[in-house]
């Protein structure tokens, strides 16, 4: 079992430029069921992929893969032709929020937006548009979602993952890899790893992911990786204290970050005295979460939380 994505996920790519092509290729090598792409200027053509299989993906696969993905003008046409139920967005920032809305309008259930640098105002509008629709948005500005050996959607390196029992949810890309790798090395593995992204306005949040993992029978514990800025971690802590039935470990980045400075991610900023790491760590501790003192200790913190 897993959450959000598995072998039944049929993935469409929005934006088959250089970046989109590169990550489509690694997804195919991993064994993800990629079904087509949307790129208006290449509509009607077919994009060919082939190479050596990434054997950290599904076991027992052939050593090589080969795929021809049809390119469509719009998400609606693509969804109609391919029966895609998920979409991954690599569209450049000025057009990415529109791409999210287009995917939602076409009835795509799971939209994963990798694009970094989308204007906040565009995301405010896109979220307003999604409000009354039955869709889930993950991101933007995130590494994506992976269920080891089943489905990899996004830019994370596949080989560091291993099927297992821990749900991973994170605001930061490379810190997710750090956590995943430690969980692979200490044998716990992952059910699904979700990058929710580092922007101030995003789709799926910590609480959404905690709910999913709490209900997933295969997930035995969760590690959540937060950072300074906003109050999403505090809200998660409140939810954990009231509802979570599984052990949770955590880490918060930015203990030493100076106030008023944007630490790379648009959302990682301490403003008006709010969003400090110490507030977040205190809230998580109070909810019974084992918070790792450094990123190197994330795997150990998870073991400790599991008891």
């Amino acid at each position: 079992m897993s959450v959000l994505v598995d072998t039944n996920t049929r993935v469409l790519v929005q934006g088959m430029g250089k970046t989109g092509r590169f990550h489509t290729d690694t997804a195919l090598a991993y064994g993800t069921n990629m079904v087509g792409a949307v790129h208006p200027s290449k509509a009607g053509t077919v994009e060919h992929f082939e190479g050596e299989t990434d054997h950290s993906g599904v076991q027992g696969r052939a050593d090589t893969y080969s795929a021809d993905l049809p390119i469509f003008r719009s998400v609606a046409e693509a969804a109609d032709a391919t029966q895609a139920n998920a979409s991954v967005i690599y569209v450049p920032p000025p057009f990415a929020a529109d791409a999210i809305m287009e995917a939602a309008a076409a009835g795509i259930e799971l939209i994963i937006c990798i694009t970094e640098g989308i204007p906040v105002a565009d995301m405010v509008i896109a979220k307003r548009y999604l409000e009354d629709k039955d869709v889930r948005l993950v991101g933007p500005n995130c590494p994506g979602v992976i269920t080891p050996q089943q489905c990899k959607i996004g830019i994370m390196p596949g080989y560091i993952h291993q099927p297992g029992k821990i749900g991973v949810v994170s605001r930061s890309g490379t810190l997710t890899y750090e956590a995943v790798f430690q969980l692979t090395n200490n044998g716990l593995g992952q059910t699904t790893a979700i990058g929710i992204g580092g922007d101030p306005v995003n789709g799926t949040n910590f609480v959404d992911c905690l709910k999913l993992f709490n209900e997933d029978p295969a997930t035995e514990g969760v590690i959540m990786i937060g950072e300074i800025g906003g109050t999403a971690e505090e809200e998660a802590a409140e939810w954990i204290a009231a509802n979570m039935t599984k052990p949770v470990a955590g880490f918060i980045a930015g203990t030493t970050a100076p106030p008023g400075k944007r630490m790379g991610h648009a959302g990682a900023i301490i403003s008006g005295g709010k969003g400090t790491a110490s507030d977040k760590i205190a809230a998580l501790n109070a909810a019974g979460v084992v918070v790792a003192p450094t990123p190197t200790d994330m795997g150990t913190a998870m073991l400790e939380a599991l008891g």
């Binding site: 890309g173 101030p200 008006g272």
Partner: protein, 407 residues
């Protein structure tokens, strides 16, 4: 991205938002020349001389060179002495202020050099209010916040008397509805002309925030004059840097002299860099990992000299540029390179580091921790380079080693 008060007021004025008249001056002569037209047009003999720097607390701030002089000073000489006396007083102030260093609670002890003054008409203030448009992250919407406690830090109001802050959530599809503005104006205790003007002000301001992609638009104080006008006496605007592609005229307003030179250089190479006060330079991929690299250095007893995220798709050239920026800082006593290669391959990083060391030399200890894609290849490149580089097995090990080496 931040702009100066005078620029914010130009943008507001162009959008029908009431601001006092004013003129910007970079020389004493310009400052003096501004006085007569301001007094004659407004009919008010008072003018205000305001230092233009990107930091708050200017009124209470003091100049290093003139410890009795505030960064914002009201000139009353015109009341009895007429325009000539006001001009004389402004001349004296401008001579002291331009080129001097203003220290406020937000500049840090080093202060900021004042290169521009804004000479503004005096306003007969009845009441001072607070108003801002900011993103509420929990709601994913902008909110308009108002308070009767103008002129004070809003964080203080929020902490001690939160009931004095009124809010309206702005629907991006509708903007601020008339009834919402009216509710807030009523809540501020306004009546008659002032009520009507406040409603118009709020609607124009929230529209401007949406049009200009501000991430903060703060008017503190917003003043009601004795004749019922509602005006922005101060204006702080900062913008969503991700949206600057659609506002080239605002991007041009950026004042490079307000930015840290190293941060400017980094942004030219598309690197995310923030200068800090410590001694250990960091080069990391990914914002979260870069932040926690700073944290772990502190955790093991060191002090980070910077935040530096080389990004996901860095090339060897970008790594070289990053390395040069770090080594330029004379405070740096050691460097810690911490990479978890995903898209970015460890051999790319290794090549960049080797190239950079060859280009600029290496005067301080260097610890490199590589993990992820092509890690063996990366380590091999470092090992075979003949450089004096210490390898680390994980992040904590690396942090401990660099702190030890710089003691």
């Amino acid at each position: 991205m931040k702009i100066h008060e005078y620029q914010a007021k130009q943008l507001m004025k162009a959008r029908g938002i009431a601001v006092p008249s004013g003129r910007v001056a970079t020389t004493v002569a310009q400052a003096v020349a501004a006085v007569r037209p301001l007094i004659e047009d407004s009919g008010n003999p008072v003018v205000v001389v305001k230092s233009q720097i990107h930091a708050g607390g200017r009124g209470k701030g003091r100049f290093k060179e003139h410890p009795d002089l505030g960064g914002v000073t009201v000139v009353l000489a015109g009341i009895d002495g007429g325009v000539g006396a006001a001009e004389e007083a402004v001349k004296e102030l401008a001579e002291k202020m331009i080129g001097s260093t203003l220290v406020t609670i937000q500049t840090g002890p080093e202060g900021k050099q004042v290169n521009r003054l804004y000479i503004e008409q005096g306003v007969d203030i009845e009441t001072e209010l607070y108003l801002s448009v900011v993103l509420d992250r929990a709601l994913s919407r902008n909110v308009l916040m108002v308070s009767t406690e103008g002129g004070t830090e809003i964080e203080e109001v929020a902490e001690h008397t939160p009931e004095k802050i009124l809010k309206a959530t702005i629907d991006p599809a509708i903007g601020l509805a008339n009834f919402q503005a009216a509710d807030l104006a009523y809540g501020l205790g306004l009546e008659g002309t002032a009520f009507k003007n406040a409603v118009g002000f709020m609607k124009a301001l929230t529209a401007a925030a949406a049009e200009l992609d501000t991430d903060l638009l703060e008017i503190n104080p917003l003043v009601v004059t004795k004749d019922g006008n509602v005006m922005a006496l101060d204006g702080k605007m900062s913008f969503d840097s991700n949206a600057m592609f659609r506002h080239p005229h605002i991007a041009e307003m950026r004042d490079d002299s307000e930015e840290d030179p190293a941060e400017l250089e980094a942004s030219e190479h598309d690197l995310s860099f923030i200068k800090l006060d410590g001694t250990i330079g960091c080069m990391v991929n990914g914002a979260g990992l870069a932040m926690s690299t700073m944290d772990i250095i502190k955790y093991v007893g060191g002090e980070p000299a910077n935040f530096l995220d080389v990004g996901g798709g860095a090339t060897a050239d970008k790594v070289t540029a990053a390395f040069k920026i770090i080594t330029k800082d004379p405070a740096v006593k050691g460097i810690f390179v911490n990479i978890f290669g995903g898209i970015m391959k460890c051999d790319t990083i290794a090549n960049g580091v080797v190239q950079a060391v060859k280009d600029v030399g290496l005067q301080v200890p260097l610890v490199v921790r590589l993990e992820g894609t092509n890690v063996e290849l990366g380590k091999q490149i470092i090992d075979e380079s003949g450089l004096n580089v210490v390898s680390a097995s994980d992040m904590k090990d690396g942090a401990q080693k660099i702190v030890e080496l710089t003691k």
